[in-house]
């Protein structure tokens, strides 16, 4: 896993700097937040719907998803996350988790006491602006996902989800879109796109036949970024500063 648990907020600070003009004192206030790190294995939960966590989770290494589920077991993944993401900033103001957060790879998480984070937000307006923008961009991403699941055909729906993840990954300094193995399994792509894993498998093979991705066991690798963007009609404007 890439990520330094001794300086767990490097990725978060880099991300928030793209969202608001932070000065040295802002960066120091974030870097000196109290935290405890935890390594969590793939498939384990960080937060379950209904929890009332006293700490916020900052992803230091690895990948996670947020999802909502039905009593029948069906579930909808609503977002994927990268190192540097604060996974539950809404806990600053909403006490009860209205969705679950799960590790999709082994992850390192820095838990920050909500009370400390609230204090920093009240004392440092630029940090408050950055976190507010982060939440607004999350909402923009959710709107795009509603459009994706509701309106795009299955092939471009999967292509769009892959493009978004690759664009955010690049913006987070984790490497260019082409060549990287994306961490989500076909089952998780299915849960994120409202398709069955059988149909996801068909669409991934179709994208592979078109020469825009390669399949490496469970994982997808982008090999033609421009081709994939064209199929998805991917316009990263809705990601605002997260992928500018």
């Amino acid at each position: 896993m890439v990520g330094n648990e001794k300086v767990p907020f490097e990725g978060l600070i880099r991300k928030l700097e793209r969202l608001a003009k932070l000065d040295e004192e802002d960066r120091e206030a974030l870097a000196s937040l109290r935290f405890s790190t935890e390594t969590i294995n793939e498939d384990r939960h960080l937060v379950r719907e209904g929890d009332e966590p006293s700490d916020c989770a900052v992803l230091v290494a690895g990948h996670a998803c947020r999802y909502k589920s039905l009593s029948s077991g069906g579930r909808q993944i609503v977002s994927f996350h990268l190192p540097g993401d604060m996974l539950d900033a809404e806990q600053l103001l909403l006490s009860r988790a209205d969705h679950s957060i799960q590790a999709i790879t082994d992850v390192i998480v820095a838990w920050v006491p909500t009370v400390d984070l609230k204090k920093v937000v009240r004392e440092r307006p630029a940090i408050a602006d950055a976190l507010w923008r982060d939440c607004l961009i999350d909402a923009s991403v959710f709107r795009e996902w509603v459009l994706n699941v509701g309106q795009r055909d299955p092939r471009s729906r999967i292509a769009h989800m892959l493009c978004e993840f690759a664009a955010r990954r690049q913006a987070a300094g984790l490497g260019p879109p082409e060549g990287a193995a994306l961490p989500m399994s076909q089952e998780r792509i299915a849960d994120a796109t409202g398709l069955t894993s059988v149909h996801v498998n068909r669409m991934l093979h179709a994208l592979m036949t078109q020469g825009v991705i390669a399949l490496d066991g469970r994982h997808v690798q982008i090999i033609d970024w421009n081709g994939l963007r064209t199929i998805a009609e991917f316009d990263p404007g809705y990601l605002h500063a997260v992928a500018a």
């Binding site: 059988v198 068909r202 093979h205 179709a206």
Partner: protein, 80 residues
């Protein structure tokens, strides 16, 4: 309630063209496809492409035989 089946070929380039129409009491209930080699360990299983009914519980995505499809319909599929 027994189902009756009628083999058909799906007009698709995705490789799962061998298919079966499933009828209940003479009325079309579902379209099933037989999964091809791209599906690895699931190749040869029957996949419900579309079903004209309510499905209670979490639907299985594929079945090892048409008999298993019938059992699933009996236990989990209600009329709309």
């Amino acid at each position: 309630m027994a189902l009756s089946f009628q083999p058909v070929t799906l007009d698709t380039s995705l490789g799962d063209s061998e298919a079966m129409l499933a009828f209940r009491c003479g009325r079309l209930l579902a379209v099933l496809s037989r999964l091809g080699p791209i599906h690895g360990q699931s190749a040869g299983r029957w996949y419900v492409e579309v079903i004209f009914a309510d499905v209670s519980g979490r639907p299985s995505t594929s079945f090892s035989s048409l008999e298993e499809v019938e059992q699933w319909v009996e236990s989990d599929v209600r009329r709309l």
